[in-house]
């Protein structure tokens, strides 16, 4: 069974999530602030961490950094009521493998946790939209690693379909490719988002007053 740690400063939310997913996965630990989260995750080494974007004593990205510094391998899924692009992109760039809103249906959440545990990326329509926005423009400025700076046409197609509410299976059927290939594209988009320091991202961030 997949071992999960819940990080959220609202006990009510933790209880709610736990009751929703408790049958399908094993919730091994909980934390309600940044330091507590780092301690619990370092000690328990769970497969997946459900991470709230906003936490006392720092935010979601701080937890990811702290766990990285402690050299613990785990996968983060951002689970948040936040709809702000800067929060979402920040936590993804810090290393989360996906983002879902707290309004997600229980089955979808379990499915997302399973996929994160398997090393896949989880794109909600909103995250797909944010990423498209962040990479928008597609100006061919080849000053930094061009491979990291541009989404391929296929990756854009996949993101657009995800933003339209398609599941990975729908996307695969629509583009007549395998679900595995869709997953590969999604992971590659995530990697580019995490590693890219391209102009467009910077410009996008500046436009939204992230930096």
């Amino acid at each position: 069974m997949i071992r999960v740690v819940l990080v959220d400063d609202h006990s009510l939310v933790r209880a709610g999530v736990k009751s929703e997913i408790g049958d399908a996965v094993q919730v091994v630990g909980e934390a309600d602030d940044v330091d507590g989260a780092i301690d619990v995750i370092t000690a328990l080494k769970p497969d997946v961490v459900l991470l709230d974007v906003h936490l006392p004593g720092g935010d979601g990205p701080a937890v990811i950094e702290g766990v990285k510094a402690a050299d613990v391998e785990t996968c983060f899924l951002a689970l948040s009521v936040s709809d702000a692009a800067e929060d979402v992109i920040a936590v993804i760039r810090a290393g989360a493998r996906g983002y879902v809103t707290k309004a997600i249906a229980s089955d979808d959440l379990i499915d997302a946790i399973t996929r994160i545990a398997a090393g896949d990326a989880v794109f909600s329509p909103r995250l797909a939209g944010f990423v498209l926005d962040a990479f928008a423009g597609q100006m061919t400025v080849a000053e930094v690693d061009p491979e990291l700076d541009l989404l391929t046409n296929r990756e854009q197609e996949v993101l657009r379909l995800l933003a339209r509410g398609y599941t990975y299976k729908d996307v695969a059927a629509r583009l007549t490719i395998s679900v595995k290939t869709v997953e590969t594209h999604a992971s590659s988009v995530l990697r580019k988002l995490q590693l890219s320091n391209r102009n467009e991202l910077t410009r996008w961030a500046a436009h939204r007053r992230l930096i």
């Binding site: 939310v13 800067e86 707290k102 309004a103 939209g129 657009r160 933003a163 509410g165 410009r203 436009h207």
Partner: protein, 428 residues
């Protein structure tokens, strides 16, 4: 020192004097030549005069130097000429010097005669106007001229766009001139009633420095004050947002997930949406009346009316003008249709402004229908969506299969108007 700043000469009105020779300018009566600092060695006065008179600039420069050595008159004249000439601004391209009917030789002779005359005049006045006075006065005058020069004004916004290095250079130059003026005054006049003078001079130094710094300090103070006010306001807002975010949004999300009452769920969803709009509209960089906000508002109305959650994702933005009305209306109809007929638990709307077109996808995962066998009601809606799009040069394609949901694809080519997302942002 506020009083002194307010009586300072007003900065030249940017629109008329900086951008050039408007025929209504009062200085045109005397045909004042324009001056450009890039043109000359110091401030461009000699170059400007030489262009006006039609002689080599060397003669003008030599004349100024000779007059300067003769009791400092040249410096005073130079500053005076600059003060007058700079009113005309720097639009040299559009300025036509006076037609010169006389030969070059005569022009040179004439100019040198005037210069020589001025030189003789200084010797006449030397009795009354001591070089001991002229030098300090000229230097302090130059310092004032530099201090009260407002630098570059943006002609559109009338705000100071002088870069800070320029301000520092001006300040340094002004202070140096002031100091030189004081030193000159001390050196040339020290033999006379020394004690009183040193007191007066010390007072002058302090007053002069204050006058010199006053405009800068007041501007700096104003900037700091308004910046601080803005920061406090945005901090307050961020604090409140964080609090609301953590408590209210969480609660609303919980209600939506755990309540079985559809009415309560919809109410919570509406409240969440309204709060979210208020919380995030400032920092997400959305154009307040852009396509994004307009579409989101339209979809929110449909959501409220038919009580089906609609997830709206918009990539890019552009001003909401008449051009987008067709696609907005068609999107609303498509969403309404999905909410009323499909039975889908949610509707996904994705819009993207890409280059020269807008695309909107309205998707439900409801009952779907066979496009070939649809009832009159649906055909009407389909045609009205399609008709609306086609009248505006766009297209509407409807994909549907019984049991597999419906997706409406709307495409509208754009003729004019920049994307909001492409508002130029400074690059560093």
């Amino acid at each position: 020192m506020e009083g002194v700043t307010s009586t300072a000469p007003a900065p030249p009105p940017a629109a008329s004097s900086r951008s050039g020779a408007s025929s209504a300018h009062p200085l045109d009566v005397w045909q004042v030549p324009p001056v450009h600092p890039d043109e000359g060695l110091v401030l461009g006065v000699a170059a400007g005069l030489s262009r006006e008179v039609g002689i080599d600039a060397v003669y003008v420069r030599v004349s100024f130097v000779v007059l300067a050595v003769a009791g400092g008159w040249g410096v005073g004249l130079y500053v005076l000429a600059w003060l007058i000439m700079r009113q005309r601004g720097v639009a040299i391209e559009s300025y036509v010097p006076r037609a010169k009917a006389i030969s070059a030789r005569n022009r040179h002779i004439g100019f040198n005669a005037v210069a020589l005359g001025l030189l003789l005049l200084t010797t006449v006045f030397d009795g009354a106007f001591q070089p001991a006075l002229v030098w300090p006065v000229a230097l302090v005058g130059a310092a004032f001229a530099i201090a009260f020069d407002r630098g570059q004004l943006d002609p559109r916004t009338l705000t100071d766009v002088t870069d800070s290095r320029n301000v520092q250079v001006r300040l340094a130059a002004g202070l140096a001139l002031l100091l030189a003026g004081v030193v000159a005054a001390v050196a040339l006049n020290f033999s006379l009633w020394q004690a009183l003078r040193s007191v007066i001079i010390a007072g002058l130094v302090v007053a002069g420095a204050a006058v010199l710094l006053a405009p800068l300090l007041s501007r700096l103070g104003n900037e700091l004050l308004s910046e601080r006010r803005l920061r406090i306001r945005s901090e307050e807002r961020a604090e409140m947002a964080a609090h609301l975010h953590d408590s209210v949004l969480q609660t609303l999300a919980l209600i939506q997930k755990r309540s079985d009452d559809v009415g309560v769920v919809n109410l919570a969803r509406r409240q969440e949406r309204e709060l979210r709009t208020w919380l995030f509209e400032d920092k997400s960089g959305r154009e307040s009346l852009g396509f994004r906000m307009t579409l989101e508002a339209a979809m929110a109305e449909v959501e409220d009316l038919h009580e089906v959650p609609i997830e709206v994702i918009v990539v890019g933005d552009r001003p909401a003008d008449a051009e987008i009305e067709a696609i907005l209306g068609a999107s609303r109809e498509a969403a309404t249709n999905a909410a009323r007929h499909s039975g889908s638990p949610r509707i996904d709307v994705f819009a993207e402004i890409r280059g020269d077109q807008i695309e909107v996808f309205v998707r439900d995962q409801g009952t779907g229908f066979d496009p070939d066998e649809i009832d009159q009601d649906r055909a009407g809606i389909r045609d009205s969506i399609r008709g609306r799009m086609e009248r505006h040069g766009g297209t509407a394609v409807i994909f549907s299969r019984p049991g597999a949901g419906t997706e409406v694809e709307l495409t509208l080519p754009l003729t004019v108007g920049p994307e909001v997302a492409d508002v130029p942002v400074e690059r560093f």
